[in-house]
Symmetry: C2
Subunit: 305 residues, 2 copies
């Protein structure tokens, strides 16, 4: 199968699973269910869930068993975008070319939809059985309770104040200030890097990675996270607004420092290329099995949207 | 020991445990850590964590083992208050006589502090070891991974869109509208009742309750939840603003229906007394061991703040 088809197959399964986990739009109370679904299905790249599935696939053919873990990370990513877009935060009206949740549903419901998505992520990870008649569901995670707890901890730790939320707090505090490189790196390591790393690690934990394999994949994921942020910063100045679904130059407008404003465009691209090479090198010890991760890494580093 | 002293002892341990779980205020990034701590230590009654400890104590003398579960429920309760108080939601400047989080730290940080508290609740429940040197910490939950997962699911399900957040969404939607009794009951069952019920159930699960015992405690907790809400509504019209740390009549001002506006004061008090008697009856099968729960139930139903 071509890599594009392979990714599309996985994305379809991810979307079907998300649809399964989210409460039906027609079920009472409809408004919040609609708000949750609106943002989840607003056209994300599904990078985090794909990383979960591909990391699991390094170790086992049964990557479909990782769908609940994959979806929990997408739910958390989506909640973080909804809250980031709020007027009190980044005050964004559009994301991926669509109105943001608070523009469609109002601020109160957007806050609650974010809260609900974050909570749902942990509910599906801890669920014993997903279907009502008690038989084992395709969408239920088959893993020992001990591994499930490890995955829940990994994700909670990476999403919380020691991870993504902490990075977001520093990011907010940095607007309009001259920040040093340490601060810039703290922000991207936490705000972007932690959840990407948790995605790779959760997939690897589920697949049964050894401590050494887990360490190499963690190093890989951190390089990917840093690279991903530099590419974001590059796209902010030279991306095609049509492809990205948002206007560029937003960081400059907000007085936000980023890698491009700090190093300049050429040096930022150099740094990206270095990080890419290092990330690929970390994957190499996994032999041919790493090809899918290698390809998605190339796309993340050299994307144009 | 007198019941007051017994409760104070437990509250002190709860506060010490919360202090242990929350990131230090002097640790980077300080602002969000301070915002999290500010709201957690703003003088709550600690009803939910006390219910966890007392429910565990019905079954085992080692109620201290339930401290992490107790704290996770208080963290979730606190996050819900921070988000409820936001300008886009109830727009409250004061709670318990103190400025609300967004008045002190700004809206953005208040949103993030709520997100962080919610996430931390699941992190501490899933944590394998709480202290760095790897030895077993007093604050670490000793329970089988399977029981921990049950507790995490119970709490996530009760806090999320099928529980507290769903109730809050309907509550928001009901402002300024004439709501029927079904809607009023949906709101209190979900917004208030679910987390109280999860507190009792989580404690009972940890203590090793049989399915039958769990069912009786669930019935008890639901009666407590309904009663708790009616008392809230009564206090809104006849409470002492000084003792409550907020002005009364807020529901009427917001055009919010409640049990008092629906039934009238006298009938609401009758209903409260009935619910109290039923709740106490559900506890009776636990014999003398239920005395602490009985006493805290009496206080919850006949409190003046």
């Amino acid at each position: 199968m071509k890599f594009d088809d392979l990714l599309e197959t996985k994305k379809t399964l991810i979307n079907n699973a998300l649809n399964y986990y989210l409460p039906p739009a027609e079920q009472y109370p409809q408004d919040i269910h609609r708000a949750m679904r609106y943002s989840v299905f607003a056209g994300g790249k599904r990078l985090r869930p794909l990383l979960v599935l591909l990391a699991t696939e390094l170790f086992t053919a049964d990557w479909k068993n990782a769908l609940s873990v994959a979806c929990s990370l997408e739910l958390i990513h989506t909640y973080s975008l909804i809250h980031d877009d709020l007027p009190a935060m980044d005050n964004d009206d559009y994301r991926r070319g669509q109105l943001t949740a608070h523009k469609v549903f109002g601020e109160a419901l957007a806050i609650l939809a974010g809260d609900a998505l974050l909570t749902l992520a942990f509910e599906i990870l801890a669920a014993e059985k997903q279907d009502k008649n008690g038989s084992h569901s395709f969408y239920h995670l088959k893993a020992s309770p001990a591994i499930k707890l490890k995955i829940i901890w990994e994700i909670a730790n990476s999403a919380g104040v020691r991870g993504m939320v902490g990075g977001q707090a520093v990011d907010l505090d940095s607007e309009g200030k001259t920040v040093d490189l340490d601060t810039l790196q703290y922000i991207d390591t936490h705000k972007t890097g932690k959840l990407l790393t948790a995605s790779v690690r959760a997939g690897a934990l589920l697949g049964g990675a050894t401590p050494d394999e887990l360490a190499r994949l963690t190093a890989y994921a951190r390089l990917l996270g840093r690279g991903f942020q530099i590419v974001d910063d590059l796209l902010d100045v030279e991306g095609d607004p049509e492809k990205m679904g948002k206007t560029g130059g937003q960081d400059a407008q907000r007085g936000k420092a980023n890698y491009v404003s700090y190093f300049g465009r050429a040096a930022a691209k150099n740094k990206r290329d270095q990080l890419y090479a290092q990330a690929i090198a970390e994957l190499s010890s996994f032999g041919d099995k790493n090809l899918s991760l290698q390809k998605i890494t190339r796309r993340a580093f050299y994307r144009n949207y």
